[in-house]
Symmetry: D2
Subunit: 351 residues, 4 copies
Amino acid sequence: MNMMNAAVFTGPGRIILDRKPVPLAGPGEAVIKITLTTICGTDVHILKGEYPVKPGLTIGHEPVGTIHELGPGVTGYQIGQRVVVGAITPCGQCHTCLDGRQSQCGGHAIGGWRFGNTIDGCQAEYLKVPFAMANLAPIPDGLTDEQVLMCPDIMSTGFGGAEHGGIRLGDTVAIFAQGPIGLCATAGARLRGASCIIAVDAVPERLKMARQLGADHTIDYRETDPVSEILRLTGGQGVDVAIEALGTQQTFENCLRALKPGGTLSSLGVYSGKLSLPIDAFAAGLADQSLVTTLCPGGKERMRRLMAIVASGRLDLQPMITHRFRLEQIEEAYDLFANQRDGVLKVAITP
Amino acid sequence: MNMMNAAVFTGPGRIILDRKPVPLAGPGEAVIKITLTTICGTDVHILKGEYPVKPGLTIGHEPVGTIHELGPGVTGYQIGQRVVVGAITPCGQCHTCLDGRQSQCGGHAIGGWRFGNTIDGCQAEYLKVPFAMANLAPIPDGLTDEQVLMCPDIMSTGFGGAEHGGIRLGDTVAIFAQGPIGLCATAGARLRGASCIIAVDAVPERLKMARQLGADHTIDYRETDPVSEILRLTGGQGVDVAIEALGTQQTFENCLRALKPGGTLSSLGVYSGKLSLPIDAFAAGLADQSLVTTLCPGGKERMRRLMAIVASGRLDLQPMITHRFRLEQIEEAYDLFANQRDGVLKVAITP
Amino acid sequence: MNMMNAAVFTGPGRIILDRKPVPLAGPGEAVIKITLTTICGTDVHILKGEYPVKPGLTIGHEPVGTIHELGPGVTGYQIGQRVVVGAITPCGQCHTCLDGRQSQCGGHAIGGWRFGNTIDGCQAEYLKVPFAMANLAPIPDGLTDEQVLMCPDIMSTGFGGAEHGGIRLGDTVAIFAQGPIGLCATAGARLRGASCIIAVDAVPERLKMARQLGADHTIDYRETDPVSEILRLTGGQGVDVAIEALGTQQTFENCLRALKPGGTLSSLGVYSGKLSLPIDAFAAGLADQSLVTTLCPGGKERMRRLMAIVASGRLDLQPMITHRFRLEQIEEAYDLFANQRDGVLKVAITP
Amino acid sequence: MNMMNAAVFTGPGRIILDRKPVPLAGPGEAVIKITLTTICGTDVHILKGEYPVKPGLTIGHEPVGTIHELGPGVTGYQIGQRVVVGAITPCGQCHTCLDGRQSQCGGHAIGGWRFGNTIDGCQAEYLKVPFAMANLAPIPDGLTDEQVLMCPDIMSTGFGGAEHGGIRLGDTVAIFAQGPIGLCATAGARLRGASCIIAVDAVPERLKMARQLGADHTIDYRETDPVSEILRLTGGQGVDVAIEALGTQQTFENCLRALKPGGTLSSLGVYSGKLSLPIDAFAAGLADQSLVTTLCPGGKERMRRLMAIVASGRLDLQPMITHRFRLEQIEEAYDLFANQRDGVLKVAITP
């Protein structure tokens, strides 16, 4: 049995480099050789024990690689072909997928998120991909691994926040928090035609990158109350769409307070603890506000679209990769990323 | 100066019959002679001091009447013509109205609700109607005042809950609370093509009327836990759309718990106190759930559509009128209605 | 090799009963034993040579049956289970399906329609079902074969016309032609909440059934010009949505002429020959009109929803079955159906 | 009575500079002093007698100016304030406007287009604006007249084509014809997030500007068959959205032939003569294609949004102004523009 390196969750506080067998492709499955992956904020939640997964699981859900093995019934692909696979792997054939709710594949909450959640993930040398026909997305010629590394999760999620917010041409949009997801939401708001984009964070490098990716205004919330400042910038009107990209009561509530009557709060954060709707900002439920939530859209068509945007030169997310590690250094990478040291935005991990 | 009777809020706990001058129509305005009106749950919130309005205000926002006076610039109507006016009176010409958010007219929360909120309402002999061109809705021949009495608020709001919930053919829908608004949401869900409608309440008469208006299943929450029962009825899947029609933490939370991943919580309630999103039912924000809120859609086109539905015989809401009073008995009517005595659903008030 | 009876197209004008091998289920496939099927107007187009298919093909795309064999990888079903399969069989996993355009599966026009078009169909004793996981839809207990016989095509298509037309509560809708598809569009318009439904045809039995299924008005176009009559019924306004359910220049054009500015023409017909947009009715392209077309939505979730509607008692389409034949009588059945003799609406065919 | 210069249609082939009284503002109306306007392709249709208007009418529907007079009931504006008014002037208060179909104001086709169509237009020194409350849009400080000159029609229409086409992130979009409207559609497609934009025309300057405004590929239809080339560029798939911006059978048909199954043809052209739907490209009506048409969205909120986009620096349409004239030179301007001489795109006319 061939063995490989893998980053394995062994219990709260511990993700370690371990040895595991290289997976084999069953019917409808594929195995890909990972050439590049990264660490997500959600992985840190797992590391800290805030999001429960089974000990022994390989972590990671942002794979870039080449096809190593194709199981029975998987056609139209070649061994060695470069592919991206989304963080969420819909089957495409269950009632929920056919109903258009692919991220909730199988009909239970978060059902489409399998890698590093319910099955082994991609912080490893090899990755088994379920429902390969629906999920293997060939990388267009000319794009490097680093150029498409954000597609599986960060870009899909951030853009999803902009899309589900229903941004229209000429909208004003505020994005609370400019971590990787928030930055992609900022870029997504720009791509959808918002005419005024306001990004909120407290890290100067992140605010600077927000401006590069499309923000017209940035607010450092340590210096200025973001809600007051947004109301000032909008002549007291508030924003059409507020995007929450952190997962805290404070940012959630600020979104609501910055919102125009009839506006939409598009939530991307992973919340823990308690979450409340302040009755005043919620106008007792009478302001025609909407709250939409988005789990990272997946599947090969989504990946194709995102890579097409990268290939078109509309957007370059590579500058978000601030640090690079070998898979052997995964524990070090987690340490840096989880503690947000050294201005880290995203790390690239090469097996 | 001609004087008239009016139901006036004089302070928390007190709505009294008083004398006021008959209003005069300014430019763009009309005055209608009220022939029938009713009391809304929101009026009871006002009475109890839970929703603040200025003492001295005439209450009421569900007017049926005849045109008494047309101000300058109001054309295409005749004195004596029978009309309905929606509870919400959009101007149609401000940025917010032109942007499609008419209920929030003027751009501040709940801005389109004027009658009995920011200007004198219709529990009186006469009512001044602002933006008359956008709001006077002629009653089709052959419909009685009682047949259209639910159009201004109850029917428009309840239907709005079904519409904004995005119900599709074959959806399963649960409606929590079967007061007048909830009953109309039940009827609305039926009209939109839900194939399984589950109504929750504890008052037998309301559950019975829910069945008449379209519910396939009713749940008495005192006898059965509604969330468990809904999950049982849906084979553990939950509902596509859950409509909240009361305004409490309990019903709001039950909606969320009864919801399918990717489903929509359509909220109609007027909340007070605190409102929280339980993180487990909210799946930490990752279940692609949506929360939409609706303030009663108004304007003459909305009223025309609702009256067309009544005229078509699709729906008869007259049985919801359980009690009838003269305007002179308004205090008695409030007493009955506010205390939900004698199986009251809606009262009809005749000046 | 087991043999079976099948209705085979052998050339224009000829569909004959022939013998073919019982199909075998490959990976991802299933074979069902047909217990009931029917003939569609499209089959008549095939018979007449107006829609080209390969000689030797078994015709038919409306299968009701029991599971006979499950290929490798098909799980969650049992042999003998009663199922319906939609006329269109999306794979669920290609770019087009994942993009939400399942009826165009594979990315070429009409790609999702396989049965009796590109692969053997269901006017036979057995049927091989591709992409079985996405397409086998269990029949709810208590429903007979005849009750669900319209689900695979007629009901899905007709309802699709109402759904894609974007019908809103209180809309006025006209449906041109009341054959099986048009009748289902009429029923669909009713289910979506149209308040005024106008059905046009010239066959008294069809107009009568239109009224039973939800039409408020019927127009016999041999007696009355339908466009004038619709304009009269709508006070000169025209309809919000006009549904074309025949596939001729005349009905297409009448839809456009009966349409309100800003309205939607929802087209279901299969057109041949020429089709033109009269510039006057099209207002030179400036009337904000939309034209949408619909190919029968398929897949097991769609079938589940349609059967849920039947099971709820909302709609009974069984009266549309006017004649019953054995598969051995298929040529006789085509003769009756193609020539619309004896008031035929739909025939039921039992192998 | 004060007199002014105006460009008046006196019969097919003749638009002349004439003298007319300065209009007066009635209730709900305003008069603006025109500071800049332009000539539209539609005006050329009028000139040529292809679109009928009453002789004696002042032409022009793209006004930039200052408020000269406010009629009774028009509040919130000041004399001298700089404003733009959309080509289409919805009342905001009729059934059609309240139903969300403002361009068809009044309920008859093209009803919202009044300037230079049913009432005097803006190729004059002064312009009377109906429904002023809904239509006077203040120009943001810092924007010049030339910067906002495209907002009333060209930009609103072109963007409308992109918006109604339902462009999603990552779509491929083709725009047929790169006159002023087509160029704005190209810019609009870019703003909505299309990842591949293909512009078709035969004038090198227009194709060059198309690339500046966002086209990834341009096709000179005299050199290359645009349909074949689009299919080649899209790997045989066709485009998600095809925008027609000319109004001919050829471009309309090419749109259809270049379209992906399930795609949308967004039509902006003003058609005359005959228009047909080729059955093959239309896939007999079975390809789930949509055809949407757009009449220039108007009203002050639309203008506010468009000017916000200009103010944000997202887009600079000023380079489209290739020639400048005084109102006194209007006949010369028409001669140049109607004959598309000297590389003209848009002319600016200063009274």
